[in-house]
Subunit: 293 residues, 6 copies
C-alpha cells in the first residue's frame, strides 16, 4: 500500500516563473528517462519479483522515484504558476499575452500553457509518456542490467538540464535528483553481481560455435581493433560470409500440396513480365519536365 | 553505405506453415527487444560516435542486427506462406478458411494474415514498432550500458521462444540469434570498461551527501538486508524523512505583483466552500440504488 | 513524498494460476480506465491545484489509486506465477508448453507470458499505456467533471470483469476496487458542486445567441424529442442552415501581394484541366478485368 | 449516411496569414480536446446506442462536431495560405524564407509548413491524433458523464485560445465554437439525468462496507476538511491501515505441484546472496571520480 | 457543413451475433486501411485544396467514406449486440459467459466485449487509430498518388475479409464497400492525370546525373533484369561505389575554435583505451556457465 | 545479409553547426516520409515477395534507402556537433548556453540537444518514428502503388527542405536524395505496369452496379465537373439517396431469444424518460453566470 506525506522529499525554491524552463524540465517528468518511467520500471519488477531481498529493494527505489516525480512536477508547477493565473484571468490584451508567453520567441511555451500550465505527462517536445519506455521483462539478470542503464541515462539528462539553467534553487534540487540516480545505480549493480551465474542471462547456454565471434560487417577502411573485438573471450572474424551455418543461405518451408497450388496460382496471377517495357503513369504526366525548372 | 547479399546470414529451414508461430516470432521482428530495435539503437549511436573504435564496433553490430532482422523476417514469411496463397486465391469456403487460420482457435492468426500474411513491424500482440523503444542518448558511458541491457533482454526473449516451438530448423536459427546477443553483450562490456572513468557516467560529480545513501521507503515488515542496501559504498537510512535538505519540504516561487494578483483572482473564482454540503449530480440520479442489485 | 507499506490495501487470494484471466485483468492495470490512469490523472491535478482542500483530496485519492494498482498487479502476478516458472525452467516439451499456455486456444496468453509473465503496463489487448489517456487540463471545473466520468467508466469495467470470472477471491478483490470508484465519484461530485459558479466552466461567458440552441443535424426520420433537445434551457432548431452567423459560409484571408502572387503561381502550376479525359495508370493495367473473376 | 454542404456552419474571416497562430489552433483540430475527438466520441456512441432518443441526440451532436472540425480546419488553412504558396514556389532566398516562417523565432512554424502548410491531424505540439483520446465504453451512464466532461474541457481550451489572439474574425468564430460546447454540455446533462437510477453507473451494487468511506492517504499536515471527505454520504477514515479486509495483506495463489517445483528451481537459480559484497561493474570503472569535477 | 441521414447508405443485414467476426471487421473501422483513415485523408486534403474541381471531389469522397464508416460500424454493432446485453445483465454464470465469449477459444473476443461490445476506433488487433496513418502533405501531385494507393490497399483488405466470412448479408455489404474503393481509385487517377506536368511531383527538377540511374545494391546472385532496372528511362549501374559524388564519402563540418576545443575535451574524457583488456561486469558473474545447461 | 561500407554514398560537407537546421532535417530521418520509413516499407515487402524480379528490386532500393538514412543522419550529426561538445563540457555559463542553443529563440533546439545532440528517430516535431507509417499489405498491385506515392511525398519534403536552407553542401546532398526518389518512383511504376491485370488490384471483381458511379455527396453550390466525376468510365450520380441497395437503410441482426431478453432488460434499465425535465448538475452550479463576464 502506498501512503503520501504532504512534505516533499526535497524543498523546491524557484526564483521566478519561467514557462520555457518548465517546458524543458518536463523531460524528466513525462520523458523516457524521467521519474515516472523510473518508478514504473521498478514497480512492475517489484510486483513479480520472487526474491524477497530484491523485491524490497525494488519497492524502496520505486517509491523514491514517485517522490522524485513529485519534486520535478512541483518545480514545473512553480515555473508555470505566473502564466497560469494571467492566462486564466485574461489580465493582458491578447497580443501582449501571446508575446509574453512567447518570451524567448517560442510557441511551445504557449502550447504548454494552453495545455493547462500544469504538469502534463509529456517530454519536453510534448510527446505523451508511453509504457513503451518500460523495458521490464521479468528476468532479474536482464532487468537489473536495464535498471543500471536507465539510471545512467537519467543521470546524464539531469546533468544536461543543470547545464542550461542558472536558477540556484532549481539547480540544487536537480543536483539532488541527479545524485540519487548514481546511488540507485550502485544498488542495482550490487544486486546483479550478488546473483551467482548472472551471465549469460537466463538459463539456456549459448551455441559454443558462435558465442565468442566478433563479425566485421563494415568495410571500406581498415578495422579499428580494441578489446571489444579481439579482447579475451572474443575472436575477430574478418570476412564473415553468408551463411555461417554452411547452408545455402536461403529460406525454405515445406508446404502441403494444396498450399503449393494456391501459391502457384497467386504467383502466376501477379507475375511481372520482365521483357515488357510498359508505358507508366508517370510517363503520362511527364510533359516537358525540363520546362519546369 | 549499406550493401545487401541475397544469401541470409543463417539458412532458414521451416518444417511447415504455421501462422500462429509466425505471430509469436514477430516479437523479435517488430517488438521492443527485437532486431529492428537493436539495429536502430546501435546505428543511431554509430552515426554520432566520436571515438573511431567504438564507431566501428557500433556499425559492425548494427549491420549484423539488420542481417538478423532479415533472418527472423524470413522465418515469419515461410511460416505464413501457405496461408497467404490460400487466402489470396480463396481456395476454401469462407467458413473453412476462418477455421483453418483459426487453427488453435485464435483470431490473432486471422488478423495477422489479413494484414498480409507478411512481416509487419509489430510485436506479437500486433503493436506497431515505435522509436520510443530506442534509448540512445548520445553519451557512451550511458549508451553502452543500455546496449548491455538490451542484449541481455533479447537473449531472454529468444530463450523463451525456443521453449515454445519444436520445429528443429527454427530452433536452430533462433539458437544462433540468441547466441549472437551473448557475444554482443561481451563486446559492449569490453568497450564500456575500456573507458577510464566510466562511473559515474557523464562529467558532473554527484552531491557527496546523497551519493551513497540507501533510503528505506517501504515499511510494514522488517527490511531485507543485502549488499544492495548496506554493501560497501552504500549507507542504509532506515527512517528517511521529508525534506532531506533540511527545508520545509514545500514548493515555492517568487511571482511578480501582477502575477500574484491574477493568481489570487483565479483562486477566488474557483474557491470551494468547505462548509457547504451541496446536493450533487449523483444524488439527483440516485433513486433507490438498493433496488438495483 | 510517497511511502510504501509491504502489506496490500486488500488481501489477494487467487485460487489457481490462469494466464488467460491475467491477460484480461491487465485492462485495469495498464488500460485506459485502469488504476495507473486514475492515479496519474489525480496526481497531475494535485501538483498544480491551488485550493488546499481540493489539493488534499486529490493527493489522497491519487495515493489510494496507486495502492489499487498494486492490488490489481498482484492479482495478475499470482495468475501468471505458475506459467512463469514452467516456461523459464523449460519443464515441458516445447509443443506441450505451447499447448498449455495456449489453454483456451489463445496466442495472447503465450504472448503475455513471453513478455515476462509479469505485469506489463498494457491493456488486455497488449497496447502500451499512454499519457494520452490522461485528460487533466488544469481547470478544476473541467477536471472534476473528468474525474467523475473516469470513476464511472472504471466502475463499469470492474463490473464487466467480475462478470467473467468465478474465482471467489478475485471477485471479492475486484468488488472492493469497483466500490472504491463509486465513493471517489461521490467525493469529486461534492468537490465540484462546492465551487460556486461551476457552470459554465471557466471564466468567459458563452455567446447568448448560440448558448441554448439545439441543432437538428440528422434527418431522414422525425426527430425523437426529449429534455436534451427541448428541455428547459434548450431551444430546438429544426432546420439549421449554413452559415448561422448570417455570412456567406466561406473561408477567407487577406493576403499580401507577394503571397497572392505566389499562390496564383502555385494554382496555375497545379491546375487540373476539367475538359480533359486523360488515360490513366489504372487503364494501362486494366486488361480484361472481367476475366479475373 | 452523411452529406456535406459547401457552406461552413460559421463564416471564417481571417485578417492575415500567420503560421504561428495556425500552429496553436491545431490544438482544437487534432488535439485531445479538439473537434475530431468530439465527433468520434459521440459517433462511436451513436452507432451502438439502443435508446432511440439518445441515439438521435448523439448523431446530431456528432454531426455538428464534424462541422466544427471543418470550421477550425478552414481557419488553419487560411492562416497558412500565404506561407504555403511562397514556400512551394520558392519566391524567397532560402535564408529569408527560414527567417520569415521563423517569424516569432520558432522552428515549429517551419515544421508545420514543411508538413504541408495544411491541416494535419495533430495537436499544437505536433503529436498525431490517437483514438486513445476517445473514452467511449458503451454504457450510457458512464459515457454521458464522459461527454459532459469532454465539453467542459473543450470550452476551456477555446477560452484560452481566444485569450491569445486579437484577430477579430477568428475570435468571433472561436467564440461560436466555445459556446456550442456549453449547449452540448447542457444536452448531455439533461440526457443523463433523465435516466432513472443513473447512479451508481451500471448494474452491480457497490459493497456497502466500502461505498461511503473516504480514506486519508496523505499525511504530514492536518487534513483539510470539506464536503468531499465528510459531507453527507461520506465517512472520513483518518488512519486507513492495510489490509482493509482484515486479512494479512499479502498476495497468494495455489499452484500445482509441478508449477511449485518449477518456481522453486527458478528461485534457486536466480537467488541473490545477501551476505555477499560483490565487486561491481561500476567499481571497475570508478577510477578517481573526485578528479572529474 | 456536414449533415446526417438516419438511413445508412447500404442496408445492413446480419445473420447472427458473432463477436469474433466483429473483432476482425474492426480492421476497416479503426484500422490503417479503414474508413476513418480514408475519410480523414481526403477531408484534410479538401480543406486546403486550392483547385475548385479537386476540392469538390475530395469533399464528395470524404463524405462518402464517413458514410462507409457508419456502415462498417453498424455491422460491428450488430455482431456484438447479443453479447453486449448478456454481459451487461450478467445472465450467465461467469465461467459460462467467459466460455461463450471465448467461443472460438479467443480472449480477444472477451477483450473486445469488455471494451463495451461497441465500435472502438481500433484495428482488429486492438491498436487505437492514429493520425500517423494519414499521409496528406498538401501537394496534389503527391496526395493524389497517396489516395490511389490507399484505395488499392482498402480494396484488398475488403477482399480478404469477404474471404473469411460466409454471412451473406455481410458479404454483400462488404462487396459494396470494396467496389466503391475501385471507383474512387478511378476518380483519383483521372484527377491526377488531368494535371499537366504531374511528374516529377513538385516544382524542383531532379539532378540529371542521378535521375535515371538504377543502383544494384544487392549482391550474391546475378541480378534479375526487368523494365524496372533497365527499362526505357532507367540506366542499370552494376557496381555503385561510395561516394557517387566523387568525394571521399566522409561527413565533415566546420566548427568554431571554441566548439572544437569543447569537442576535443569530450573526446578525451570519453576515450577508450584500445590496448586495454579490461575485466568486465559479465566476467564477474560468469561463474561456470557450462554448469547451467 | 547486410554489409556496411564506412564511406557514405554521398559526401557530406556542412558549413557550420546549426541545431535549428538539424532539428528540421530530422523530418527525413525519423519522420513519416523519411528514409527509415522508405527502407522499412521496401524491406518488409522484399522479405515476402514471391516474384524474383520484384524481390531483387525491393532489396536494392531498401538497401539504398538505408544508405540514405546514413547520409541524412550524418548531416544532422554534423549540424549538432558543436553544441554537443559545448553542452557536455559545460563550457559556458548556463544562461549563456540556453541563449546560444536557443539561437533563433527556440526551445526545440534545446530539447533536441538535451536528447543527446544526436540523431533520434523522430520527426522535426519530436514525434518518435512508428511502424504505423508503413503501409505494406503484401499484395504487389497495392504495395507498388503505395511505393509510388511514398516516393512522390518524399520528393516534395526534400524540395521544401532545400527551400529553407542556404548551406550549399547540404543543399547538394539533399538534391541528390530528392533525385533518387524520382528514379525510384520510375522503377516502381515500371514494375507495376509490367504486371498484367494490375487493375483492379487483387483478385475479386467489383460489383458492376457500383463500380463506375461517382456519388455527389456535397451540396450547397453547383458541382464542378471534370474527368474525375464524369470522365470515361465514370457515371455522375447527382442525388445519391440512402440506401443504394434499395433496402430500408437500417441495421439489423437476428438474435437468439436469450440474447433478446438480455438486451431488453438492458434497454429498460437504461431507458431515458423523454417527458422528464430533470434538474441537472450544471444547473446546480449555474449561479448567476451573467455575473462572470
Amino acid at each position: 500500500m502506498f501512503m503520501h506525506n504532504k512534505r516533499l522529499q526535497y524543498t523546491v525554491r524557484v526564483a521566478q516563473a519561467d514557462p520555457g524552463l518548465a517546458n524543458l524540465l518536463l523531460e524528466q517528468f513525462g520523458g523516457p528517462q524521467g521519474e515516472l518511467a523510473a518508478a514504473m520500471r521498478y514497480f512492475t519488477q517489484a510486483v513479480t519479483e520472487e526474491d524477497p531481498g530484491r523485491k524490497d529493494m525494488l519497492y524502496d527505489i520505486a517509491t523514491e522515484e514517485l517522490s522524485h516525480l513529485e519534486i520535478i512536477g512541483s518545480i514545473v508547477a512553480m515555473l508555470n504558476r505566473g502564466a497560469k493565473g494571467e492566462l486564466a484571468e485574461a489580465v493582458d490584451a491578447q497580443a501582449e499575452m501571446y508575446r509574453k508567453l512567447n518570451g524567448a520567441g517560442n510557441d511551445s511555451h504557449v502550447t504548454q500553457v494552453l495545455y493547462g500550465a500544469g504538469t502534463p505527462l509529456t517530454n519536453s517536445a510534448g510527446v505523451p509518456w508511453t509504457a513503451a519506455y518500460i523495458d521490464t521483462i521479468g528476468e532479474p539478470t536482464a532487468d537489473l542490467r536495464s535498471n543500471i542503464a536507465a539510471e545512467a541515462r537519467a543521470k546524464i539528462i539531469y546533468e544536461r538540464l543543470i547545464n542550461v539553467t542558472d536558477d540556484a534553487g532549481i539547480r540544487e534540487a536537480l543536483g539532488f535528483l541527479m545524485t540519487r540516480e548514481v546511488s540507485h545505480q550502485k544498488s542495482f549493480e550490487k544486486a546483479l553481481y550478488s546473483i551467482v551465474g548472472n551471465f549469460p542471462p537466463g538459463k539456456m547456454p549459448p551455441v559454443p560455435q558462435f558465442a565468442n565471434a566478433y563479425l566485421k560487417m563494415s568495410q571500406g577502411e581498415p578495422p579499428q581493433m580494441g578489446p571489444w573485438n579481439e579482447g579475451s573471450g572474443l575472436e575477430f572474424i574478418g570476412e564473415p560470409e553468408p551463411a555461417v551455418d554452411g547452408g545455402d543461405g536461403l529460406a525454405a518451408v515445406k508446404l502441403e500440396k494444396k498450399q503449393q497450388a494456391a501459391l502457384k496460382a497467386m504467383q502466376q496471377r501477379l507475375a511481372s513480365d520482365p521483357s515488357s517495357d510498359p508505358q507508366t503513369g508517370a510517363e503520362l504526366g511527364m510533359s516537358e519536365p525540363s520546362a519546369k525548372s
